[in-house]
């Protein structure tokens, strides 16, 4: 048998801002049943990065801050801080600076919320925030909608990757606008990662088949009955979707085509009428 190895994981790494990652799955750290489950899920998924956030010391969210910090160090996975909850450019930029100091990283997942009900990004101010952070030396991964022009503007100001949503955060609905996501993939040649709204491994596999470069998810794993098993399922789905994209899918046909050779078929064209 001739050797065919068109898809080699080692040579198919995700590259963001010049940095190479062996996984195309980015995993959130929130809403798990316990820190131990979170840790096990991360160990199962081997994500490229894990996301984290910042909240006031003394708040309920930060009460377990020191133990979370210890867990983050133990995981030994690159941290992607976010600016979750920010509603203005100034809030987002200041939070990014604070995150850079705390986590000692130039990476920032830029979230600028424009609507509290849907958690839809503020598309009118996101570009300004991204531009400022890029100028200040951050490696910005902007959480955005699937709007083509918005994503192009983010690239224009220096974002070397863009992260459109599949659906509102935490809904698990999967891609609600497949057409726009596929057009976006066709039109932009920077790394694109689907961030938010995925609920099933098949959703992740689907967007990877469309040519997306990675996915970022949290709730779909954290709220699964067995988060650790689901983390593994998503990791496998992302890898399968990527391999399928690289393999090149057949073109869909309108009519049936027999897959078994017709030549030599016994009883061919016997009239049963």
């Amino acid at each position: 048998m001739p050797s065919t190895a068109p898809h080699s994981p080692a040579s198919d790494a995700l590259v963001l801002y010049g940095q190479t990652f062996q996984s195309r799955l980015l995993l959130g750290t929130s809403r798990y049943p316990s820190p131990a489950v979170l840790e096990a899920a991360v160990e199962r998924a081997h994500p490229a990065m894990v996301t984290a956030s910042l909240r006031r010391q003394g708040s309920n969210a930060a009460e377990t801050g020191s133990s979370f910090w210890e867990l983050l160090k133990r995981l030994n996975v690159p941290v992607l801080p976010n600016t979750a909850g920010c509603h203005s450019v100034q809030e987002a930029v200041t939070t990014a600076y604070m995150a850079r100091e705390v986590f000692d990283t130039p990476w920032i997942k830029l979230e600028l919320i424009g609507d509290d009900y849907t958690l839809q990004p503020d598309t009118l101010n996101l570009v300004e925030a991204a531009a400022q952070l890029i100028r200040d030396g951050f490696q910005v991964l902007p959480y955005c909608t699937e709007d083509l022009v918005l994503c192009q503007r983010l690239v224009d100001v220096g974002c070397q990757a863009v992260m459109p949503w599949a659906a509102p955060i935490g809904t698990g609905r999967g891609p609600v606008n497949p057409y726009a996501l596929q057009v976006l993939r066709e039109r932009l040649d920077v790394p694109l990662l689907v961030d938010a709204g995925l609920g099933l491994p098949s959703h992740a596999c689907q967007v990877m088949e469309w040519g997306y470069d990675g996915v970022l998810l949290n709730t779909a794993v954290a709220l699964a009955t067995d988060p650790v098993a689901m983390a593994g399922a998503f990791a496998d789905a992302v890898a399968a979707g990527r391999a399928a994209r690289s393999a090149g899918a057949m073109a869909a046909q309108d009519t049936a085509q027999p897959s078994t050779p017709v030549l030599g078929t016994p009883f061919w064209h016997h009239d049963h009428g």
Binding site: T51, A52, S53, M98
Partner: protein, 65 residues
């Protein structure tokens, strides 16, 4: 003077700096500070003077998505 630390009213002496505010709440590393929505690097805590009515945010790592 009176300032706000994470939305709580706090009274500090008139020449207080960010370092005094951090010490007042016994903030434990890692954390970061902003005053009136402006980031203050940890290298400047001792020399960044506070003004009456300043709003200080001291934030720490938490889980996130």
């Amino acid at each position: 003077m009176n300032i706000f630390i994470n939305q709580t009213l706090v009274a500090l002496h008139g020449s207080a700096t960010v370092a005094d505010a951090v010490a007042h709440v016994h903030a434990k590393p890692p954390f970061a500070v902003a005053v009136n929505l402006q980031f203050v690097p940890n290298t400047r805590y001792a020399v960044h003077p506070l003004q009456d009515g300043d709003k200080i945010e001291i934030i720490a790592p938490v889980t996130g998505g």
